[in-house]
Symmetry: C2
């Protein structure tokens, strides 16, 4: 197996992009990534595309072939990957495998979701497809409802408070404020989170990530030739994925995501690092409780201690570990299929020292954590500077 590097990244502005079609979003992110990699379309050997449910949002499936088409990549293999909210991370893993194995050399991995063309209730229903349609959604529970159950149990078992949940949102909005690509440029306070409308008790509106349009793309190459394209290649030191039951009620625990723990353990072992070595991490804060659980699943803090650590500021930029410097799903936005790729884009910028206004000092090793549904899929990547 060959080492694999990220040699180019591209991102669209996240938000309500009513000015742009899905094709235009793909082109905006994809062409930015090709330009960043100093590469032309004829050098690309394959493309993977992450997207969760473009069929329900805009009536369009077959989006990886559409990406190849929009980017003028010719007749290369194009493959869409869908693993709910982890579609981007899973697509990145397939791209990594394709290059690591030697089957392809230069691979583009794109992620996209165009979510704001439908009503919020239609979007919520579409996103429900990430869970067990028959035993969860059909019975009336929504995705905020599933995460509310996880939050309530976490509060019961570990004394986690609503203020601590709110602290995640406050931090991530503060980070997003410094990111020009973010959906929200609005600082918020603990009180504003606590006083926002209840969505699924104890989660309020400002505990929830938004509905977002956006796209992200990365270009992968064998590490041995990466410097031909880019002076600061970022090595993918580990790419790990695991699954679990779709139905939350079938899990051993609902205060931890087993698929994330397994992915993280395998990723740390494969990369030869420990949680303490991670300088910067983009994690899947679809709801504030999800970031608290992620901190524990990733081993950054002991079980039951992450909420307090976040409240104390230990995950702010240049804290013990800098978490969601992009603003995360909460502040930067969550165009579902793009999120896992956007995480890799942000970590690449951080490790290159290009995260303008939100740069983590001396960041050398980063991590991405992308979760599908309530945890039936998790994907963890460890990235390292390779120059």
């Amino acid at each position: 197996m060959r080492d694999v590097a990220i040699i180019g990244v591209g991102l669209t502005k996240f938000g309500e992009r009513w000015d742009s079609s899905i094709k235009e979003l793909m082109a905006e992110a994809g062409l930015a990534a090709l330009q960043d990699a100093n590469i032309t379309s004829k050098d690309i050997n394959a493309i993977y595309g992450g997207s969760m449910t473009p069929g329900r949002f805009i009536g369009q499936e077959h989006v990886a072939a559409l990406m190849a088409d929009q980017l003028g990549l010719g007749n290369i293999p194009a493959t869409r990957v869908e693993n709910a909210c982890a579609s981007g991370g899973s697509a990145l893993r397939q791209g990594y495998m394709a290059v690591a194995s030697g089957i392809h050399d230069i691979v583009v991995v794109g992620g996209v979701e165009k979510m704001t063309d439908v009503s919020t209730s239609e979007a919520t229903t579409a996103l429900g497809g990430a869970g067990d349609q028959e035993w969860e959604l059909f019975q009336g529970i929504t995705f905020p409802g599933l995460y509310a159950l996880m939050a309530r149990r976490h509060m019961h078992d570990y004394g986690t408070t609503e203020e601590q949940l709110a602290a995640v949102a406050v931090k991530n909005h503060a980070n997003a404020y410094k990111n020009k690509y973010a959906q929200f440029h609005k600082l918020i306070t603990i009180d504003e989170v606590l006083n926002s409308k209840k969505v699924a008790d104890p989660l309020k509106l400002l505990d929830c990530s938004p509905i977002t349009d956006g796209a992200a793309a990365v270009v992968l190459a064998p590490l041995e030739i990466a410097k031909k394209y880019n002076d600061t290649p970022i090595k993918i030191a580990a790419s790990e994925q695991a699954s679990d039951t779709l139905r939350l009620a079938d899990r051993e625990s609902i205060t931890s995501i087993k698929a994330a723990r397994i992915s993280a353990e395998n990723a740390y072992r494969h990369a030869g690092v420990t949680p303490k070595d991670i300088d910067v991490a983009e994690v899947h804060d679809c709801f504030t409780i999800a970031e608290i659980i992620a901190m524990e699943d990733l081993g950054f803090f002991k079980k039951g201690e992450a909420a307090k650590a976040i409240e104390e500021g230990r995950t702010q930029i240049n804290g013990d570990v800098s978490v969601n410097t992009s603003g995360g799903l909460k502040g930067c936005g969550h165009p579902v299929g793009a999120t896992g790729i956007k995480q890799a884009v942000e970590i690449t910028w951080q490790l290159r020292g290009e995260a303008e206004g939100r740069q983590v000092d001396g960041a050398e090793i980063g991590l991405t954590h992308n979760v599908g549904g309530s945890g039936a899929t998790a994907v963890v990547h460890v990235l390292k500077r390779a120059d």
Copy 2:
């Protein structure tokens, strides 16, 4: 890269399966494949799932994790692949790559679609997502309409007749009549096809594949250990994929599918065979014209000569090349995401000599040809007996 073999196959009865949920279909095919491979769930290292648009058909995304869950495979990586009607073939290619590269040893690849829970018009709309939503479907053309354009041009350029189109359907219904898994067990005549209702001139109802529920699964292993599980492993001698523009109007030609030609050329070269070496082929006859074009794209007949050859019976069982012995999409049915995997199941049975009642004499080398949309994706596999 390691050689890869199919060591187990499983299939559900295709048809209107109102008795079974998507989970039950997955379990039926998946457990049959595990049993056929003499393997238990704990030996499986990863799963790929092909499905086109389960979100629009039944509100369920995240179906690969659901497959792992239903089959009791534990926390293994589970990845859904979507490339419209080529979702199954593309999933098989990803599974092949995972084993060939050495990243995983034993991999299950499943395909499923549960299509009959919605109305035919809703199904037609959902399937339209395989094309260019903005420039084709939104303008009012349907998928039968796109293939009707291809048929009309083929008739204009090569003198292909409506009787020759009909001959494809007659042959495939005759083959399906001998396949207990097929949706249709009804022999039809040329006149019945010609007199069936027009769908999109020149295509009539009996020129079109049906709406189908069904699932299929294969188990893959490194060839070097395949005999541990199965006396007659089937080697995947080539797995190739290519893409093209989504929009039919952007193509160089609409009487040929360029992505299929590229995939086939690469597959023949990689497998070290020529079209003449293929004993049995499962091809993507979503419409009768598609099988005629496939015969030409695959090099079985010269351009413009396939229609006559089919009419003369040269693609019947034990003809020059035995095509769609399962009944194809037309006769066996077309549960979209399952089709590419079902093709591999049928070829495996043929190469093992287990295709009861429709066995091709002495079949040694087989091929599958799976097309997404009007040709924006094509996947070709060459399979060989390896014992």
